[in-house]
Subunit: 213 residues, 2 copies
DNA sequence: AACATGCGGGTTGTGTACAACCTGTCTCGT
DNA sequence: ACGAGACAGGTTGTACACAACCCGCATGTT
């Protein structure tokens, strides 16, 4: 991978994280000049990154106005969650990878981290751990297009969900998450990747229920 | 929509069509300067379009070498087809739109066009009609994220399939396609969008079988 | 003959200046 | 007082020049 591609990837992931973890809440105006200065590049390569984020629906650029972080419409939120449920099931059914001891170790580590989080709930730590666990789940299928699509949909809605966590019960969300992680580990220990997908599907569904309910 | 966005959309669709309908077969080197001259713009806005096509996996840009039309690996082809099968089913099950008389009219028109194609098989006409029918199928669900994803996956693999049509039997492919269109119409006339999705799923599956078999 | 090396042409990546555009404000006329 | 229109400031879009890079070829060395 070339030098330019690496810079591009770093910028992309940095900005994407900032958007999805609410460092830039929906409606924030970004400003190409300022960002370019912060990262020590000119506007040109930065615009390449912003264009990609805009294509993925995380940003919206308006000529003469600015580059704004998007919000998600309730109806679109419903569509995306419906899709995510189905993709969660597919990620356990299509081209499952072998469940190696390393995978089980990672799952057990997540159980520990979730337990620690539950003991000391924190919104930011919750968001990061949730993202990490989601990414781990994507590694269970060898179907890379499926993994990429599922990731994009998750990132598209994660910030909406995070923004509402305060109005829900953070401690309860942590508890539910810890339970999901434990159930996933149990499924993997039984060698049943499909069950892990169903666990995820169920939790996506319930999460949406709490979100809109 | 602004002026710049319209230009961008036109360029994007034009180039995407050229790639997916094999005007630019895999491996073709595009050349930014030449394309920019053809469309009467500078390299800058053109590069914005090429970047998007690269993000979607249709192009690959290599510094100092050129912008190349990508190929699709057999293993990735398998993954994408597996996904497309599932998404076809979902497109009939998730948020189905009302089947209006206009929808039925369009379906009947496709039956006629498919019949005409069958009478006079032509690779290019086949490719275009197939794309049009696929796009029509996407309008049957109100779940826009699902439709977008399914479209992207179709466009990603369509050219590989088209490239192999000559080594298959064009007349037979036209015949099978005409049957798919008729079956879809029958499902829609019965008011059963889910059945239409299953028809599509079955044909995606069989199409892949003929492709690799 | 085989191989290393430098060079030249061609291509994409980056920086910069300017054009196009939107929005809030201020002024002027009614 | 109120509204229309011009203006100014700030932002993204475009064009162009140059840097960085890859590849094939010629040349010289062993």
């Amino acid at each position: 991978m070339s030098d330019a591609d690496l810079r591009h990837a770093r910028l992309y992931e940095t900005l994407r994280t900032r958007i999805c973890l609410l460092d830039y809440p929906p409606g924030t105006k970004l400003g190409e000049e300022a960002l370019a200065a912060e990262f020590g590049v000119s506007r040109t390569p930065l615009r390449r990154v912003l264009a990609r984020l805009a294509d993925e629906g995380l940003l919206e650029t308006r000529h003469g106005v600015g580059t704004l972080v998007t919000d998600v419409e309730p109806s679109e939120l419903a569509h995306i969650y419906a899709l995510r449920m189905e993709l969660a099931e597919l990620s356990g059914r299509l081209s499952p990878r072998e469940i190696t001891p390393e995978v089980l170790d990672r799952a057990r580590a997540f159980v520990e981290e979730a337990r620690a989080l539950q003991a000391a709930p924190d919104p930011r730590a919750f968001a990061e751990l949730n993202l990490a666990f989601f990414t781990f789940g994507l590694t269970l299928t060898a179907n890379t297009p499926l993994a990429e699509i599922a990731e994009r949909l998750y990132l598209r809605t994660a910030r909406i969900w995070l923004a509402r966590i305060p109005s829900l019960d953070l401690a309860r969300e942590c508890e539910i998450f810890a339970a999901e992680v434990r159930e996933t580990l149990a499924a993997l220990e039984a060698g049943d990747a499909q069950a892990a997908g169903l666990v995820r599907r169920a939790h996506v569904s319930m999460s949406y229920g709490r979100l809109v309910g």
